[in-house]
Subunit: 367 residues, 4 copies
């Protein structure tokens, strides 16, 4: 209840701080019998890993994961799966005035007000480093969802600052450090980021995440709707300031005759709903978009106050992502996977396993 | 876990269907000693009540609330507070092809797929009627928050379809059926709605909800952030497709030097954060925006399928809101209140009562 | 979290006070498709009802239950099931010094200390009257368990004060007001109770509850063991001071060679385990015993203090059960049913539906 | 919800298996500002450690604990506290027929039936080794409770097999490997255990645990009573078959005039209630007794079946405690501490910090 657990039946309890000895999580409720190795998890962690291009933080962390429990002879046992990632590149540096001063846009002020004590090293608990255990747990969820239902979860960057990124093809996403679904726009993104770094500034981004092969029937209508739980998970990701499902804010100016997706024996005619009606999955793609704010740690000097309430100036040097959105795609995918598996287990609890004896409506092809 | 409970320490468990004998909720965890009468709750219910203007559903429900428990001699006792609202205007009508056919944009198809059985009368459990118990519970939360911290929660419509509504003054909001904060725009909204009704169509809306007087320190950083719980509650409201905190999607194209709110001894200089940093309230206004999709029940005939998967046409007559956003303001306010009280109690649990011995930063004046 | 909810997936949230307008509960998570009428529930409520013999409280309550939601056309829909029971025989009487004084053995003192306010009418929230909603919810659980797995739950009184009651046959239990499984001992019990009433005193009792037809595999080993959840539910029943599973306290002086139930292809050889090993059901009978303390409300004058801490004398007149254990059998049965259904749903969530493809071990015949 | 978390506001999520690489837990919800070192935790772990006398298992484990997170500069930060204990003495041995055969009295059969897969090495997840993380977490709870309220939790063995152990003085408890509160009985206990070992058998035990300095007001009446949560925690401890609060099963034959503890301005006159009335602590000592069954692993050959349902004989060699009750005292103390701190935080959430402005009743002196 102190908030470090995500999920209700497939739960992920994370621990750790940016500069402590280790980070990790305990995954509880995983169905038994799933083949699982550290390599299954490492693959996803490597997609999120820092230091892999000049556009992200240069902190060097291998993020090597160790499975401490819950897997026996290569198979999950139903017992909790503890995952451990040692921190290895915490620099023993002078934290300077960060110890006494609140960095604008960061959690420094609020942590200090709430807890009266604050691990100021690299953001402590509020560091984006804590998304690694989420990605690790998400890897387990993705594997189970894929093996059980064929569900796949993929994301991409659809906007970087003012630059809108067209969707050309999924195949482009893994080929560039931005997770951009269009190879042609990449040089423009690189030049933009290089300028930003020179200016000592940062910028926001917009991501889209899409799940295909989602069974019909996931979601508990009031209040634990599938879309509500997605919004919860996404807004809980560092730096996220907005979440949309399906048509999102565009639905404000839509008419009902345009928004409501018609049905035909061949399937839904559109997907303004984003794959969720009344809080329950329709079997179409689940489509989510998120807004990520610009990194708060920038080299430009900024006004702030210190613990005594006196004026202070903050410049952040250290190693930081100039756009936290760049590495966020695998994390957002992991979060969507965690919400989906949780509701898949909830569906089994109340309604038994996903039913297949009703007339299926063909899912609309992904855009 | 079947999802009908909102909150963790101040919990609201709702029950009921649109055309069943009654709707209501059980509020658990309310601190003892709060003066509470049915009138305190009725006031809020009346703001949400149907049938009060020509722009909303003409269903006549007094929504008279009865307190069944948890209050003794006018004061809450710490025991659960059960609230009962009898349905009185369920028309005994011919449900026509709704029984066998799935209305586009509605939960008909997903409920049937999930549960194998569906209360089709007026949308059953998925009816917006079920927001009444939320408003009732929210009234209790609001009273406690105001008495304890001076917290106030207010909302307004900021856009109806394509019409953006300027914020002129809070005093305008209660003076028109749209909760519009600008009296001058009201005739335009009325004309727009009259046209819509004639066309047999519906439209979306955008609302903003703002809490002032929020204590610093509410929110549990990972994962139960204050903003994450707000996103969860809002996205769980019928028809909501998008949620923003503070700058929201605008932050995508912001630079870090613009977005990160600086601090001075006189307070924060801006509120792009929307009153939340690192998942914890800053003491500034908490600012939320939501996108509400157009009502799915429209008179225009639409394509669908029936239970056998055969093509069908659906026209919805009945009594419906042509813009569900019109009555949603009090509901969104209630949801924000429920999230805030829950985190206020969570703060007390882990950190003791809200601390006042730290240098206070003046909250930015509301816009 | 304020404690008025039992269960995790099949949840029962109760409300109400002894002398308030109504008591009831919301049952959430019930699988859809279960045939359910008010009569199904009333049958169980009638077994617990006061005023049916001279050995129990003479308060006259019909305990007529109304289903407010979650059932449509005679079948559960998966939505929350709200059950309402109006209080009808709250006497408008002089509460005398109970208002200012704490009755020994009752919750008066602790409620007042905890909440600072106390509904003193008939024990308020702490009244045994609040077990009625539990019995009502249990009736739903029992029906589902029986239809799904053939599970049956039965209890009996095994001791009244010093009188040990032999188990003769289940058929005797329903034939006497004590739920005694031996007709011959009933006259002795009646005489004993008549003496007690004359003395103005009360006495304790011991009950046993047994579930047959329990599927193998229910229970989550650490910490939510089936036996742990049973102990929780039973110790939460008013006046219970001890709980045993299987051999219970007898196992203290047993040797391992005696206690550990051997297995043969024909089944377990004994049931010292009480049907639970490692927190998970074995498929044998689940056997539980509980100790119920004597009613605290007695006519004999007793020493106490008042709110000012001054000495006071308390005599309780009103209408009370001289042995609360007499009416507790249906309640203990309901609690066991609620724990079992909860773990049945939890099993489905994590492991899929109860497996039947493993070599079955014959359950030991009930004693 | 898969059961590996204890508590609601102060939560302990454990992980690990007897012969895996490590065991441990994540403690969430700990109030910030508590001074905490590994030594604080190690002290308690050492009381439970195996291999310290000839009467317990000879497995050599230092149980050295590492704090991975949640503590900064010697003080808890409010973030989750992860505790890691590496397993070091898992023997690489031949597991023989345990792999295919179910040991009587053990969880082998039920785990296999539930999960379809089973870590058979040393009992896997169901090993008593998993009580170490509970003791570690309990050490944190104890420290906070003592510093905040002066609460102390102590336990002792009150019966070993047929030998009842008189309570002479608390000082004796730490002086012998049995946690016996009477030095004179120790030689008798030692001789008894030596005989048992020679016989290749095992025996049960009874423990008592007592908390002093418990604030008035802890416990949530329906259903999360303090005594219900204690029963849950205790029955969840390996091998526990019975739990009593206060007078326990003795209350069955008590009269109301004897059982109900009278109050005087000087305090309660007795403590049949065991410190809990109506589910809420009275401020008196909380008194708990538990029955622990004999160890199921014994050298004596026993009948069982194998996975194919065929007859088999099981003899357990390995390293085992001939009486699991011997090392259970620190564990039961830890569990009681965890329940108390959880309810202390719950009290703060709903009712604010423990009130001191009501006339205090002197607590009865501990027996």
């Amino acid at each position: 209840m102190a908030g470090n657990t995500l999920g209700t039946l497939f739960t992920v309890t994370t621990f750790g701080e940016s500069h402590g000895p280790a980070i990790g999580c305990v995954v509880d409720g995983c169905p038994p019998g799933l083949a699982l190795t550290e390599a299954d998890i490492q693959t996803e962690l490597d997609r999120r890993r820092p230091g892999t291009s000049r556009h992200v933080t240069q902190r060097q962390e291998l993020d090597a994961v160790e499975i401490l429990s819950g897997v026996f002879e290569g198979v999950t046992t139903g017992a909790p799966i503890a995952l451990l990632i040692r921190n290895t590149d915490q620099r023993s540096k002078d934290y300077g005035n960060i110890v006494e001063t609140f960095r604008p846009g960061h959690a420094d002020y609020t942590y200090w007000q709430k807890y009266g004590v604050r691990d100021y090293r690299g953001g402590g608990r509020s560091s984006a480093r804590l998304t690694a255990p989420v990605v690790a747990a998400g890897a387990i969820a993705r594997k189970w969802l894929f093996e059980k239902y064929g569900t796949q979860i993929r994301g991409y960057m659809s906007q970087l600052g003012d630059i809108e990124i067209p969707f050309t093809d999924w195949s482009h996403v893994a080929e560039n450090p931005f997770f951009a679904p269009d190879a042609d726009v990449v040089p423009k993104l690189e030049a933009y980021m290089d300028d930003l770094r020179r200016e000592g500034d940062s910028v926001g981004a917009k991501l889209r995440v899409i799940a295909t092969g989602v069974p019909v029937g996931l979601g508990d209508p009031l209040f634990d709707k599938l879309d509500a739980d997605i919004a919860f998970a996404m807004m809980g990701l560092n730096a996220v300031k907005g979440v949309e499902i399906g048509a999102g804010f565009k639905s404000v100016s839509q008419k009902g005759s345009e928004h409501g997706d018609e049905l035909t024996p061949a399937g839904f005619v559109g997907n303004n709903a984003g794959g969720v009606l009344g809080g329950i999955s329709t079997g179409q793609d689940v489509e989510v978009a998120i807004a990520i704010k610009p990194t708060s740690s920038i080299r430009t000097p900024r006004r702030s106050i210190d613990k005594a309430g006196q004026p202070a100036t903050v410049e952040t040097f250290g190693r930081h992502d100039p756009c936290v959105g760049i590495r966020a795609t695998p994390i957002a995918e992991a979060l969507l996977a965690l919400v989906l598996i949780d509701h898949a287990l909830r569906h089994r609890a109340q309604c038994g396993d996903v039913s297949v004896d009703t007339p299926k409506i063909a899912a609309r092809a992904p855009e």
